[in-house]
Symmetry: C2
Subunit: 349 residues, 2 copies
DNA sequence: CTGAAAGCGCTAACAT
DNA sequence: ATGTTAGCGCTTTCAG
């Protein structure tokens, strides 16, 4: 009743298990006749090789570990996950997934567990740029590592990120060109409670990049009025922050949000206040989703090449695993501003 | 430069590797003194147990395989995946993910690979109810299996599904109560090309369940006019199907869609035609997302308890893995109709 | 309380 | 062309 092993196959075929192994993997010198007999025996027994034993012997598991945060308000990480799983499978690798919920302690533990399970490499979305001792070559047993979505300065590993700066800047410029003079920015960050106009420490380079892009847009366009609100990721707080903006003395005509959590808050508040999107209030966010395009008006967005990020992450990781890669690379992929109806053209009036 | 093994720890601590192993796992009779010395040695060397070797010995991997379809237009599978990964981790299990894109050949292969990797159990979203030889106890080496989202009649395994029938029926009744007399149904199915009003073979019980729920609603409310369109999952085709409905002699006042792909098509077409949702055209769909609630008007939806599905799937699977489970169960969880503004109240006029 | 030895299933040197 | 043997790293009898 137990799974057949290569020994059973060998016995049935009347050969030694070394021969059986050779026959199954088509290596070494072996007669076509034997191969056939062994394969027939394997088929008859329903033999399936035990990958754990193979890993034990070979010293590799053909498995990579993915440490990621799950986020259901944008499809970036979901699509990245799918992209990575699919790309890995194409190369004969499976993926073990860990979700960190952006918690560094969980991230640490996840990486540890993955290493104990002997993954051949790691793809990580680091929860913070501030702590990275657990990503050092020693901590990761010299296993290859590719960091995606965010950079972690100080870690000697390949990273695949996106150039959010430029498109965020472009978004501001476009809004100003359309006549928006009173701008506002709603930035999500887990480093504070509630919301505040003071810029706090930002935990990751991606958000920093977006903020800088927005900022530069403001400077370049010489916009006088620009309000900044940094806000915790809590939905209720986000709505409060939006209300705060709209209740200010000089309410903004447009809100740029750093992610879709914040954009949802804007939509909700707009709905409650009866404000029409793209008319009474304008909105720009980051990370495209199908629904952002489908609703009316569609929402203007900074789109990031998530499939490309995923594809490259696997490609680069495997290069390192197979020792074909030299030095770590810092790859930054371009983003794209997709203009839709959520930004009102104030000049047309 | 190599990872230290238990032998290295034993050597450093001056004990046999059997003793070292005992010390590390706190089992058997062993002096507190030795335990301390061994653990100190382990710490000094940065010893991490090799889970592959442990699996080899123990005959289990503390890993489960998840075979799922990725779908970015609704969060059901994404959230299920997260729920499963998190629940598994709580119990000390990791999850290897395979995406099938609803392709039976890939599903077969994925299950096979997972079994070769010696997962302790499988959670599967079967791509079709029609084929299931690969899910039989023999094909899966008698490894425990839990099927989610859809039932596969004929497979002897625990399944966790949702009762979409009732809420879909309720949705129709509510719409009729609001004065809708001309109903339409847009059902996604991968079993046909293009779209058609003839009911094709449906590949899974979940869609079947929704159709039956809608159908029963029509019957119960004695609605005379009801148009049915079965449509391939292609976005362009879906839009064409919506246009077809709206261009018919008696255009429906409401469209019930079987999933969010179809709902997006309705939104797009409505946008292009300048139809206002919840006024000129009404919409009900299945599977809630944050954006369905955030936009104005919100979209009425049949919500399924995805987190509960995930939690239960892991719970039941582990019961089977630990031999605590008796017979396979067919668990059906209740769904809920969430009414929002996308269904116009025609009687109020 | 601890050590020696066996063995999980596999493959690659090393024979023959 | 095939068989014998060793060993990947670990845990668990079995002895002592």
């Amino acid at each position: 009743m137990k799974r057949p092993t290569i020994n059973d196959v060998a016995a049935l075929a009347g050969v030694s298990r070394a021969t059986a192994s050779r026959a199954m993997s088509d290596y070494g010198r072996i007669s076509a006749d034997t191969v056939e007999r062994v394969k027939a025996a394997a088929l008859e027994l329903g033999y399936q090789p035990n990958a754990v034993a193979q890993s034990m012997r070979a010293g590799n598991t053909k498995t990579i570990g993915l440490v990621v945060i799950a986020d259901f308000t944008n499809v970036f990480f979901d699509r990245a996950t799918k992209g990575i799983v699919d790309a890995a499978r194409d190369q004969g690798y499976e993926v073990i997934i860990s979700n960190t919920d952006e918690n560094i302690a969980i991230e640490r533990e996840a990486i540890n567990t993955l290493l104990q399970k002997q993954v051949d490499g790691l793809i990580v979305v680091p929860s913070t740029a501030a702590v990275h001792d657990h990503l050092s070559p020693t901590s990761r047993q010299n296993k290859p590592l590719v960091i995606i979505d965010r950079m972690v300065p100080g870690v000697n590993a390949t990273s695949i990120t996106t150039n959010d700066f430029e498109s965020c800047e472009a978004a501001v410029k476009e809004a100003v060109a359309k006549g928006h003079k009173n701008l506002s920015f709603l930035i999500a960050t887990s480093t504070i409670e509630g919301f505040d106009s003071e810029k706090p420490m930002l935990r990751n380079t991606t958000i920093e990049d977006r903020v800088n892009g927005f900022m530069n847009g403001v400077i370049d366009t010489k916009s006088k009025k620009a309000q900044w609100v940094y806000c915790s990721e809590n939905p209720a707080t986000a709505e409060a922050a939006v209300n705060h903006l709209l209740d200010s003395k000089a309410p903004p005509s447009i809100i740029f949000t750093s992610n879709n959590d914040m954009a949802l808050a804007v939509l909700k508040v707009a709905g409650k206040r009866g404000l029409e999107l793209g008319k009474d209030i304008s909105l720009v966010t980051v990370d495209d989703s199908q629904w952002l395009e489908a609703i009316s008006p569609g929402i203007t967005v900074v789109e990031r090449p998530v499939d490309e990020v995923a594809r490259l992450a696997v490609e680069k990781l495997l290069e390192h695993i197979n020792n074909k890669a030299k030095k770590p690379e810092k790859i930054v992929l371009p983003t794209r501003l997709i203009s839709r109806g959520s930004v009102a053209n104030l000049k047309a009036k």
